[in-house]
Amino acid sequence: MSHHIVEFKNVFFRYPDGTEALKGVNFRITHGESVGVVGANGAGKSTLLQHMNGYLMPTSGTVTIGDLTLTGKTKREFRKKVGIVFQNPDDQLFMPTVFDDVAFGPLNLGMDEASVRERVRKALGMVNSLDLQDKPPHHLSSGQKSAVAIASVMAMEPDILAMDEPAANLDPRSRRSLISLLKTFKHSKIIASHDLDLILDVCERCIVIGGGAVVADGPSAEILSNKAFLEENNLELPLSFQGRS
């Protein structure tokens, strides 16, 4: 399947208040690739992700997935293809029970009851959270919330999974199980994070954003071991590369 290629061509974006968030972003992600997006606070990572499913529209330049170019008309198609997992699960889990939340996407796709139930069961099974389905989200722990948030996106069966800081607020063990979970997904993945060890573990490729443009793009192991370059971009060596003296 070669049609899940994500391509940003010379994408500029300016917020209504005049802030230039993206200044000519170019990259191309092929099918099945895992790509980490890193950069300093305010470098434009979240803005970039919000272009992935048409929540924000480029001021100029194009975003394409396969043969589909992002416009006002193709927004809905984009949202079917790209599943976005948010940094804060409380923003993502807006329905009163876990079941309803995971079912929200499939129901909006107009599926019938039996297939919705099947999708929900599959998605929750994937993140080992089947027993949570009748619980309201505010009775869940942060780790459970983030698992359910992923399930709610997986239930739409997207081709591409985009995540914003998936491991924020997780304890080390939940973080570890999230990492092993992410490794089992065969989707194209785009993960924006400051957790460089997570990127190193999950993504073979890494894009560094600085000042609204791509400043580096290459194999994670290579980029994330270049100490001088990382420090230039407000980053540092992943902990696993830092020798303890």
Binding site: R76, D91, F94, M95, D100, F104, G105, N108, L109, E113
Partner: protein
């Protein structure tokens, strides 16, 4: 009562509704209809009625017992809202001074009787409403309302209210704690700061609303919140409704209490 205890109190109410008893298992629709009928029956009594209201306490007491809801918890909640009822009725004894009855030589004015009647009705209606919430999960109530024909917009507002009540309260709790930690003594706790805190909370809520909307759009939202049928009316639900309706009708239209009084 501090903000924290208030927060955990609501949480407790919510947890009660996820228990498993006969009352909890009844279909939410049956309970919603029964409660609405109960409320209308109680408020349909004339303003000087006291005696005929007494048997209606059977309904909340039964729900309370079978649903294993702690009595003190419900009574506490009722006391919290009681000022409303008290202020509605407090002037009746002053304005309505006709003598209605003489008990042991003390004349009782009609105002006192109507005041007492208001309090009784208040106790009955509030306890019934509280028990509905304490024995039915809130999403259950919402789905019941939706399927009974309430407008979709109204029901989704209720669902969001429930979902984000806890998130918002935690947000407020964090702000309040942060203030307390740095306001030594009374400085920083005044009205001026309070107003600003409310402002901050409002802004944060707006931001959150936008992120939630984004999340909804990402999952194909286009104006209506869909939901699946989750429950069927079973025999016990029909039985529960039939008994409730019979109970309400008998005690509303037949002078049972008076009858018992005469026989005794």
């Amino acid at each position: 009562m501090t903000f924290d205890t208030l927060y955990f109190d609501i949480g407790r109410m919510d947890r009660l509704s996820y228990r498993e008893t006969f009352v909890h298992r009844l279909d939410p629709r049956a309970k919603v209809i029964a409660t609405i009928l109960f409320l209308f029956t109680v408020i349909s009594f004339p303003k000087y009625e006291i005696v005929a209201l007494a048997p209606f306490f059977l309904y909340p007491v039964l729900l309370l017992t079978v649903g294993e809801i702690p009595v003190r918890f419900i009574i506490k909640k009722m006391i919290v809202v009681s000022p409303f009822a008290v202020f509605i009725g407090i002037f009746n004894p002053i304005l309505d001074t006709r003598t209605a009855a003489v008990i042991f030589g003390v004349s009782l004015s009609a105002g006192w009787i109507s005041f007492l009647s208001i309090l009784l009705k208040f106790a009955l209606t509030i306890s019934a409403a509280l028990l509905l919430i304490a024995t039915t999960s809130f999403p259950g109530v919402c789905h019941a309302l939706r399927r009974l024909g309430f407008p979709a917009l109204f029901v989704s507002q209720l669902l969001f209210l429930y979902r984000y009540l806890f998130v918002l309260m935690e947000e407020a709790m964090r702000i309040v704690r942060a203030r307390e930690m740095r306001s030594f003594g009374s400085r920083g706790t005044g009205m001026k700061v309070f107003v600003r805190l409310i402002g901050i909370l409002f802004l944060r809520t707006m931001d959150r609303a936008e992120r939630i909307y984004y999340a909804m759009l990402s999952r194909g939202f286009h104006g209506d919140i869909p939901s699946l049928k989750r429950s069927r009316i079973a025999f016990r639900d029909l039985a529960f409704m039939a008994i409730t309706i019979a109970f309400l009708a008998v005690f509303r239209f037949l002078p049972i209490t008076e009858g018992i009084g005469r026989v005794a």
